[in-house]
């Protein structure tokens, strides 16, 4: 929880600024839409955090989002498969991608950066080839299956805000990953692997299996996220769908307290990291800043926030040291 305090602080500050200066920021519908977006990106970020915990990186998240997101309407509309066939197939393909990454990294000892960079190119290329570069959409059908991402649940007593359905998988996954990392032997082993792989291996930890598992989970969540994104958006073009989403996922995970050196993670931090990026984007529009400034504003605010967090940590650490020396 301590690791997440920084990002919670940044999130709170942005939220307050948005509430004061952003027109209609605190309306139910805006908060509902923000919850939806934060949940979607959280699912990708949770997957990314599992790989980052091992000291690895997955650059193919955006392309897996693209492949799964494009495959879903393509199989449903063009190939006329049923949703019951499509969903397991897409998830299995995503998990298989992760398995390939894991095996290439652990058995062939290839660099995660290289393996997933090649994946980034490969899966987007596959998506473009499969569909002949055609944009894929549901053509006004499949409302039922799309409700997986579009349904909203009313809260008794609250009129304008309904909980988007994507919150459910995001929360379930966050709780599961949180419990896995903090309450299970395998979770502790995963953290130990990230902190010092050699030491963990010599201690009898099945590091190769754990690293492979983390890549499977990451790609599976990217595939699942891609499916939810396409259910939400309705159509996508294989050449650009999911572009740079790996960066949003990695940024959310790192902002949330995952160390790129491995061995550290905070599930709550990751959720806040993903939400912060979305609230910031929303704030830029509602405050009325030029959309051309978006990336500059996001970069500046996050950099200032993270630097302030680091300075506060150092200041507190020194203060504790001084207090310790006195007593």
């Amino acid at each position: 929880m301590k690791k997440a305090l920084g990002i919670i602080g940044i999130f709170t500050a942005i939220f307050i600024v948005a509430s004061v200066f952003g027109e209609n920021f605190l309306t139910g519908i805006n908060l509902m839409q923000l919850t939806q977006r934060a949940s979607l990106y959280s699912i990708l970020a949770l997957g990314a955090s599992l790989v980052i915990v091992t000291g690895g990186i997955d650059l193919s998240i955006g392309s897996v989002v693209c492949l799964s997101g494009i495959m879903t309407p393509w199989l449903l509309v063009e190939k006329e498969w049923t949703p019951m066939q499509v969903i397991p197939t897409v998830l299995a393909v995503s998990a298989f991608i992760g398995l390939c990454h894991g095996l290439l990294i652990t058995k062939l000892r290839l660099q995660p950066f290289l393996v997933t960079l090649c994946g980034l190119l490969l899966y987007r290329g596959l998506a473009r080839w499969l569909t002949g570069d055609q944009s894929q959409g549901f053509q006004g059908e499949f409302e039922g299956v799309r409700s997986i991402a579009l349904a909203k649940f009313a809260i008794p007593g609250i009129e304008n805000y309904r909980i988007p359905s994507t919150v459910i998988p995001a929360i379930v996954l966050a709780v599961a990953i949180g419990l896995f990392l903090s309450r299970t032997v395998w979770g502790r082993w995963l953290l130990a692997t990230g902190r010092n792989e050699s030491a963990a291996r010599y201690s009898g930890v099945p590091t190769a299996r754990l690293v492979t598992l983390s890549y499977v989970a990451c790609s599976l969540l990217a595939g699942f996220g891609g499916m939810l994104f396409i259910f939400d958006i309705g159509s996508a073009q294989p050449s650009d769908f999911g572009n740079f989403y790996e960066l949003y996922a990695i940024a959310a995970a790192v902002l949330g307290g995952c160390s790129l050196r491995g061995g550290e993670a905070s599930v709550i931090g990751v959720l806040f990291g993903a939400a912060t990026l979305q609230v910031l984007r929303n704030t830029i529009t509602l405050v009325g800043l030029s959309s051309q400034l978006e990336f500059a504003v996001i970069g500046t605010v996050l950099l200032v926030g993270v630097a302030a967090d680091e300075l506060i940590r150092r200041f507190s650490a020194r203060r504790l040291e001084r207090l310790g020396a006195r007593t």
Partner: protein
């Protein structure tokens, strides 16, 4: 004395550079090559059609280009390239085509102002024409397409007919392209009932209040659809009284339809659309979208190949004095939506069946 000579030499070099525009020289050189083809025409030219991205729009254009290659009166080899990676990808493709020794290229430049080098290279080694989005300062022999300002004007007038005033928002993929800038300006001028002037430019970040309308802004998304959807949702939150919006790229309009439906705002927020997204056409038929302005990508592809083939035979007679071969846009409304959709589907099918990027 030496200094004086150097200064004079530098000055004359500078004057020489000013006097002879490289673009004009390259156009003249291309025309000279075409004139030479009159005496020795290319037997079976190989020409290329290069898009500015990947979209259904370009698949239809590809169908047109391939059909032209197979047309008995034309009969040439055609290569179609869709750059999926933006400016750098398009540059690489153009350079590769030049290396391949292609006879002529029709390209839709992504950022003509900053693509001078590669466009000059094409003009130097091959024959350069532009389609869909023009590069008037580049050494191109002609431009095939519609005037994007006029098309924007049509969209603006469509919006003005269907919505008599109020807040208006503009959504577009990016503003770097010449066609995007002109289309947006045309829309604004058409909506506000101004006297048409293609040289006018309203800053995207400026709020415009005129003739009973308030244009609250222009939002870009760099082709990120999740971002494009979020833009529409956020603008509707900020402006609950939004009367009208326009999506000036195909997917902007498609996503606008999606958001309107999701928020149950059919009939409350009007949409003047651009291009032929399936959901947009369905929404026009349902009656909650005013209409859409469509181009003729099939015509762009067909005419591009036809013109380049003629050049390789030494014939430039089809190029008018202003250098623009016009293929006008048209407005699709509820009454002609069904017929348009049937014709479009047939063309997309033909484009898909075109298969490989090289058609012989």
């Amino acid at each position: 004395m030496k200094k004086l000579i150097s200064l004079v030499a530098l000055a004359s070099l500078g004057l020489g550079l000013v006097a002879a525009s490289p673009a004009a020289d390259l156009v003249a050189a291309q025309k000279a090559r075409i004139a030479a083809f009159k005496a020795a025409p290319k037997k079976r030219p190989h020409v290329a059609f290069v898009s500015n991205g990947v979209a259904d729009f370009w698949t239809i254009a590809k169908a047109g280009a391939i059909a032209a290659g197979k047309d008995k009166s034309i009969n040439c080899d055609v290569t179609v390239e869709f750059p999926g990676g933006g400016l750098s990808d398009q540059k690489r493709m153009l350079e590769d085509l030049v290396i391949k020794g292609i006879d002529g290229i029709s390209v839709s430049p992504i950022d003509p102002t900053n693509q001078t080098d590669v466009l000059n290279l094409v003009a130097e080694k091959s024959l350069l024409i532009t389609n869909d989005s023009d590069a008037p300062k580049a050494p191109r022999l002609c431009y095939i397409g519609m005037d994007n300002y006029d098309a924007g004007l049509m969209c603006g007038k469509l919006a003005r007919e269907g919505c008599k005033g109020g807040k208006v928002a503009i959504f577009i993929g990016r503003l770097e392209q010449d066609n995007a800038k002109r289309r947006r300006q045309g829309f604004i001028d058409g909506l506000l009932g101004r006297t048409p002037d293609a040289t006018r430019y309203d800053e995207p970040s400026k709020v415009l209040t005129e003739a009973g309308y308030t244009i609250v802004g222009t939002w870009t998304d760099s082709f990120d659809r999740a971002k494009a959807k979020a833009n529409i949702e956020d603008v509707m939150i900020k402006n609950p009284d939004l009367a009208l919006m326009t999506g000036l790229f195909e997917y902007n309009s498609t996503l606008a339809v999606e958001v309107i439906k999701q928020q149950g705002k059919q009939g409350k927020v009007q949409l003047a659309a651009f291009d032929e997204g399936a959901d947009v056409i369905a929404a026009i038929k349902e009656g909650f979208v005013l209409g859409t302005v469509v181009q003729d990508p099939y015509g762009y592809g067909f005419e591009s190949v036809k013109v380049l083939n003629a050049f390789c035979k030494g014939d430039m007679s089809m190029v008018p004095a202003n250098g623009m071969i016009s293929i006008p846009a048209r407005v699709i409304k509820k009454d002609n939506a069904e017929a348009f959709w049937k014709d479009l589907k047939a063309k997309i099918k033909a484009g898909k069946e075109g298969g490989s990027k090289d058609a012989k």
